[in-house]
């Protein structure tokens, strides 16, 4: 409905502008004709001169009157030029009579933008020939990636076809949000229904199983699936708590201790997969203001993620931290399978899986990186990812530094609690 309203409004503005231009042009032509006739005829006929005078006056009157309308036309033009929607007006002969700057950037563009210009021409022809609206979605791979809707709408005045108005609408953000919503529903269904389905089938089989050995095996699998389901629900609850968490309880936290606890937590999983974790930390304490448990959980999730996807044969995982001036930088780097570029922006979404087929074999709930992102948002930090398929992945975290405890012996200074909550404000980047 919004698109229809936009089309109607833009078409109305464009038609008004077009008519105004045509009218002013006609007045000028009449004026020029009168002057030309006077030159040709000279002064041979008073009556003819009188008629020409009247014609010139009439033309001048009309030329003066539209000045009000011309101002209105300028307003239309300025309005159309200000909107972030491409508007192109084509007359019935297929001539482009108006395009606003947003559209002009595509029409005179290069690389992917030139494809949009091509689409505008193609849809214009279709709409002119068929007299019906022509619509096409254009996916530009860029970079940056864009999704555009190009709509060509015939302009009809009664029985008369006046031309076509074409709109170019950038729906990239809308499509991105739609994809997140769509995939979230699909993924949460998958994550919850798969263990529930397995539990149901295992329980049915167990009920009729006479062999105690087989029954025991089924019970173990039942327990494993229940455990998996519990893990998913626990992570969901943790995510919810983090999302609604306040920073009232934030205290100075030493990053070296956070990393040590996080690595201890996942040590068993690393040993099981024969992955070596190398930790490089500076001697000088790195301190941030935050929630110890949340930060430990975030680092543990990142390291655990690295363990799952690192190269099994020669798995090496590196965890480093350093003082980078205004912020503390923590790097978790693996030499695993890497992340394809198309998935890189989406891995922090809840339940998003790069390879759904691997999700069950690798374990996990699909919420780990979503938890990491929310913890960092809570702490005013940010996370970035750099990855090449086959070469591994590097996650880099930045947290606002509170300063080393050696430099700041009393980190719980009274003024710290009076600060205007800088930690709640994310610095940008991943969100």
């Amino acid at each position: 409905m919004i698109a229809v309203a936009i089309v109607a409004t833009a078409a109305a503005l464009a038609v008004a502008l077009w008519f105004e231009r045509a009218r002013v042009r006609a007045v000028r032509q009449v004026d020029q004709m009168a002057a030309s006739l006077r030159d040709d005829v000279g002064v041979r006929s008073d009556s003819m001169n009188s008629a020409l005078d009247r014609l010139e006056r009439a033309a001048q009157d009309r030329a003066t009157a539209p000045q009000v309308d011309a101002a209105e036309a300028r307003r239309y033009r300025a309005s159309l030029s200000s909107i972030t929607l491409g508007v192109v007006l084509v007359d019935q002969e297929g001539r482009r009579v108006f395009d606003n700057p947003y559209a002009a950037a595509f029409l005179a563009g290069r690389h992917g933008d030139a494809v949009v210009g091509d689409t505008v021409d193609q849809l214009t022809t279709e709409a002119l020939v068929s007299g019906a609206t022509a619509v096409q979605e254009v996916q530009l791979f860029g970079p940056p990636r864009k999704t555009l809707h190009v709509i060509a709408n015939p302009i009809v005045d009664g029985d008369q076809h006046l031309g076509v108005v074409v709109l170019i609408d950038d729906v990239t953000e809308q499509e991105r949000l739609d994809a997140i919503r769509r995939d979230f529903v699909a993924n949460i269904s998958h994550e919850l229904r798969t263990p529930i389905g397995a539990i149901s089938l295992l329980a049915e089989t167990l009920a009729d199983e006479p062999d105690p050995a087989v029954a025991s095996s089924l019970a173990n699998r039942l327990s494993s699936e229940a455990h998996r389901l519990t893990g998913t629900i626990d992570d969901l609850l943790q995510l919810s708590r983090i999302e609604h968490g306040a920073d009232d309880d934030f205290v100075p936290v030493v990053i070296q201790q956070v990393i040590a606890r996080a690595v201890d937590r996942v040590r068993a999983a690393a040993d099981q997969r024969d992955v070596e974790i190398g930790v490089q930390l500076p001697e000088r304490e790195l301190v941030v203001r935050g929630d110890d448990l949340q930060l430990t959980s975030a680092i543990a999730n990142l390291v655990d993620n690295g363990i799952k996807y690192t190269n099994a044969a020669e798995g090496v995982l590196s965890v480093r931290a350093r003082d980078a001036g205004e912020h503390i930088e923590i790097v978790v780097q693996d030499n695993g399978i890497g992340i394809p570029p198309k998935d890189r922006d989406r891995i922090f979404e809840r339940f998003y899986r790069v390879d759904r087929g691997r999700s069950r074999s690798s374990g996990g709930t699909g919420l780990g990186l979503a938890i990491v992102r929310h913890v960092l948002v809570n702490h005013g930090g940010r996370i970035s990812v750099d990855s090449t398929e086959g070469d591994g992945t590097t996650f880099t975290i930045e947290l606002p530094a509170l300063g080393g405890v050696q430099d700041q012996p009393e980190p719980t200074l009274p003024e710290a609690s009076n600060r205007p909550e800088p930690h709640r404000k994310p610095k940008g980047g991943q969100s």
Binding site: H111, G112, A114, V115, G117, D118, Q139, G338, P340, G390
Partner: protein
């Protein structure tokens, strides 16, 4: 030439240039699009790209005929003639680059259902990015008449050549480790070759841009060497007088 005819002629030259830019835009988009279809085994995406190549072919024929028409009717000279000749050359280079991406889309079908080693996938993605970058830069050089950029493309292409060698080695490695079958390995090596060729076409575009702007042709160096070999004294004399 009357004012009106001159205006029409220059409008026609602009339209030809615009046509080249639009064809190139399709190829610039086809490179990442074809790569994504290939790496994600998207058969529908591959099919759409193969069909779109037919549109590029039609655009190429139309543009070529337009160039011939201008040559026949307007008989351009000097810079205008070079602009038309460059458009004809670029038309062929761009159309061929589109064919190469269509070949990659066809390979998507040939290797469908096989897992590609992550390292090879990563290298192919880097080759695709490098080929797309070179191609876009060559078109930037054409639009802006930037001979400096056009001349630099040859050296920039070295990176793509290195990536090509690295990727083919990774493909052999993956085959040796029995991660991919021989026929899949051959197809992957061909895909490398297609990207590498797109880089070569970008370099060719750069050379033609240099011809368009200042009349320089890559063959001139070779021709001068051949002339020097035929009549060495002339070459030596020329060098001496210049020096």
């Amino acid at each position: 030439m009357s004012e009106l005819l001159r205006k029409n002629f220059h409008d026609e030259l602009e339209a030809i240039k615009h046509g080249i830019v639009r064809m190139a835009g399709r190829v610039s988009e086809a490179i990442p699009r074809g790569t994504e279809a290939f790496l994600s085994a998207d058969l529908n995406g591959a099919q759409a790209l193969i069909e779109d190549d037919d549109i590029l072919d039609a655009m190429s024929i139309e543009l070529e005929e337009r160039c011939y028409e201008v040559l026949a009717l307007q008989q351009p000279m000097a810079g205008d003639l070079r602009a038309i000749m460059t458009a004809l050359w670029l038309n062929a280079e761009i159309e061929r680059s589109g064919d190469l991406m269509s070949n990659i889309a066809k390979t998507t079908r040939r290797v469908y259902g096989t897992d590609i080693d992550p390292r090879v996938r990563g290298l192919l993605m880097r080759m695709s990015e490098e080929a797309a970058r070179l191609f876009r830069l060559s078109i930037d050089a054409y639009i802006e008449g930037d001979t400096g950029l056009a001349a630099a493309l040859d050296d920039m292409d070295d990176r793509l050549d290195e990536l090509n060698a690295e990727t083919i080695l990774a493909v052999f490695e993956a085959h040796r480790e029995r991660e991919i079958e021989l026929n899949v390995g051959v197809q992957l090596a061909l895909v490398c070759r297609y990207y590498e060729r797109i880089g070569d076409h970008a370099v060719n575009i750069g050379e033609r841009v240099r011809y368009m702007v200042d009349g320089w042709m890559p063959e001139q160096d070779g021709a001068a060497r051949a002339a020097s070999r035929r009549e060495p004294n002339i070459g030596v004399f020329d060098l001496d007088t210049d020096g």
